[in-house]
């Protein structure tokens, strides 16, 4: 068979006798046979990728059935007895898990309210700096923490907050305050988490808004200036309104991910003394499953988490489809 000339050539519909009962199935099989024969190179390119997804992402989904079993490492999945919803009953009966749900939501919502507006503000500030060297320098500095691992960020936090010789406590002592071991005080955990999160990501996240600002027509600004608008009025009436669609879409994405807190980062910073505010669903799963070995319970918690996350993303996506014509996908 000669190579086809265009990628756009549709699959020719195989001719099948219309009254044969097995016709649709056979037509499908024939279609696949033709496709595999003609495009075997494409399928060979695709196969390793699909196998990877099957083995590393889809196979674990089957493993989720241990959420309904009394799983034992030695018996394996198949031989472990079914327990129905017992794991879930135990989970929701556990006060620590209920606290983890509350902590996850609190951290997620606080981040949304406090951290989300910062990149917008930063983008406006960068933009008002004009086009000079200082602006380039400020951007380069503000973007840097994004590229640094959470381990180093946690290391910096530990060093800055060290009880007696950390910078913050030296400053506190200098101002006459007593020195505190912040990382062991539950009341400070959320501030530390959200504050360091802003420090790490706000600069880099402003890039999306800067790109949107770059798309605003300069003619709008010139016309407003001729009408005597001040710089603050330009921001208030031109720049900010132009950013609204971006802000709405990004806010909806954030809402969709509100329960996906930065778990790998929290694991580094939390400790038993601060569990009251720092223990989230993912860290609960980590402790119950990988540290205690209560796999069934932890898998149940994971399934609960994944379903809520899916529902939230789906809801946010539906909402954004309604709000604007742009969808997340």
């Amino acid at each position: 068979m000669p190579p086809r000339l265009s990628t756009a050539t549709p699959e020719p519909a195989p001719a099948t006798p219309p009254d044969h009962p097995a016709a649709p199935l056979r037509a499908t099989l024939d279609g696949w046979r033709t496709a595999l024969r003609d495009d075997w190179q494409l399928y060979a390119m695709l196969a390793p990728l699909l196998i990877w997804f099957a083995v590393f992402l889809y196979k674990p989904m089957l493993g989720l059935i241990i959420a309904f079993k009394d799983y034992s490492l030695y018996k394996g999945v198949a031989a472990s007895p079914w327990v129905g919803l017992e794991n879930f009953a135990a989970l929701f009966g556990d006060e620590q898990f209920r606290r983890a749900i509350a902590n996850t939501l609190t951290l997620g919502i606080l981040s949304l309210v406090i951290a989300f507006p910062v990149p917008v503000l930063l983008a406006l500030m960068f933009n008002e700096l004009g086009d000079g060297r200082f602006r380039r320098f400020a951007q380069i500095v503000a973007y840097l923490p994004h590229f640094i691992s959470v381990v180093i960020i946690a290391g910096l936090v530990v060093a800055l907050l060290a009880p007696s010789n950390g910078a913050i406590n030296i400053a506190r002592a200098g101002l006459g305050f007593d020195q505190l071991y912040f990382l062991t005080i539950p009341g400070y955990f959320r501030t530390i988490y959200i504050g360091s999160g802003i420090w790490k990501e706000a600069g880099f996240d402003s890039i999306v808004y800067l790109a949107a600002i770059a798309g605003i027509s300069p003619a709008l600004y010139e016309a407003a200036r001729l009408d005597g608008a001040s710089r603050i009025q330009l921001i208030r009436h031109i720049t900010l309104p132009a950013l609204v669609p971006t802000i709405i879409i990004l806010a909806l994405i954030k809402v969709g991910h509100v329960i996906e807190v930065g778990f790998e980062y929290i694991v580094l910073l939390y400790q038993p003394a601060t569990y009251a505010t720092s223990d989230v669903i993912a860290t609960y799963i980590y402790r119950a499953g990988l540290q205690t070995g209560d796999y069934g319970l932890a898998a149940a918690a994971g399934l609960f988490n994944a379903i809520v996350a899916l529902a939230l993303v789906w809801g946010a996506n539906t909402l954004s489809r309604r709000v604007s014509t742009a969808t997340l996908w």
């Binding site: 265009s6 494409l42 530990v158 949107a212 001729l226 990004l250």
Partner: protein, 329 residues
């Protein structure tokens, strides 16, 4: 969670709508407010004041962004006694390189560093080997079953089995405490596949048709026609993988037991966050001119160097990735 760890920032993952190739340098978009030529557009005194206040606030932002780096640098270069006495806040006190000498003389540090290089390079190569051909196949409209394959890949962004089933799967595959496991199990992410697939889809069909007339098959098309045209996107994906490998710690910490196999971030975590010295280290600490604090700081600074060296390049490629098909109003 139980997902692959070359995970791009949440924003990246969700804002892929369609990949466009941005021709403009979005890192520094044309500022919307231009210097007016028309004297009627000259800034008023209030506008200038606003500009000064903005610049002053920006200086504060820059200072806050930089301070943790300056502080950790100062600690790493100071004597242990000065740090313990709380005399180091901004500049090194009693400058000494003892902490660096100690860190660089540590065998485990170099092993961890070498391991990270291995994981970063082997991991990125594996990722590209799986993703480039796979994404190309998925971008061909004549590929039968394309919609289903694309859905199966995108679905993994929405739903994942979670930490426990993922871990048990790795165990069942015999990939615990295995370098190969770390390289393979985190090779792909749906985000990277979609990014590259969209880039392939954007290519004009005319090139392919011309090559086909010359008798090229799919493998040749990918190698000589499609791949050279999406080099910027391949670079973006490669760097996303590289940085994720360089910075990732969680799964390496969970899946590797042998201290000779762990990457730098896991080594860092043990020292910098858990504040735990091994016995040999502790013995030397007792008599040294450096302290645990200055040594931790030196470890942090040393591990930052490769990222800082790559930073200009990373910044350019990442800002492009960030806005590749970003949010479009």
């Amino acid at each position: 969670m139980g997902r692959q760890y070359p995970e791009p920032s949440r924003l990246d993952r969700d804002t892929v709508v369609t990949a466009r190739m941005p021709n403009d340098d979005l890192q520094n978009p044309t500022p919307a407010t231009r210097t007016p030529q028309d004297p009627a557009l000259a800034y008023t005194r209030g506008d200038r004041l606003f500009g000064h206040i903005n610049a002053a606030l920006m200086l504060v932002v820059v200072a806050v962004s930089l301070y943790p780096f300056i502080y950790i640098m100062a600690v790493s270069l100071s004597s242990g006694a000065a740090v313990t006495a709380g005399r180091v806040l901004l500049w090194p006190v009693d400058v000494t390189l003892a902490a660096y000498a100690q860190v660089l003389g540590e065998r485990a540090f170099w092993i961890a560093y070498a391991n990270t290089f291995f994981y970063a390079i082997a991991g990125t190569a594996t990722s590209l080997a799986l993703i480039v051909p796979g994404a190309y196949a998925l971008s061909r409209s004549r590929l039968k079953g394309r919609r289903a394959f694309n859905f199966l890949i995108a679905f993994t962004l929405w739903f994942h089995a979670g930490m426990i089933p993922f871990f048990l799967n790795i165990r069942d595959l015999g990939l615990l405490d295995s370098r190969l496991g770390i390289v393979i199990a985190f090779a792909c992410s749906a985000f990277n596949v979609i990014l590259l697939r969209n880039a392939f889809e954007q290519l004009p069909a005319a090139y392919e048709e011309a090559a086909r007339l010359d008798g090229a098959d799919d493998v040749q098309l990918l190698r000589y026609v499609a791949m050279p045209m999406v080099v910027p996107t391949i670079t973006t994906v490669a760097l996303l993988c590289l940085v994720a490998r360089w910075n990732g710690y969680f799964w390496s910490m969970v899946l590797l037991f042998d201290a000779h196999k762990v990457p730098l971030q896991v080594y860092l975590k043990k020292i910098v966050v858990d504040l735990r010295a091994d016995d040999a280290m502790a013995a030397r600490l007792a008599t040294a001119s450096y302290s645990f604090e200055t040594m931790t700081a030196a470890v942090i600074v040393t591990s930052l160097i490769p990222i800082l060296l790559l930073y200009p390049w990373l910044l350019r490629v990442f800002t492009r990735g960030m806005t590749l098909g970003g949010v479009k109003e």
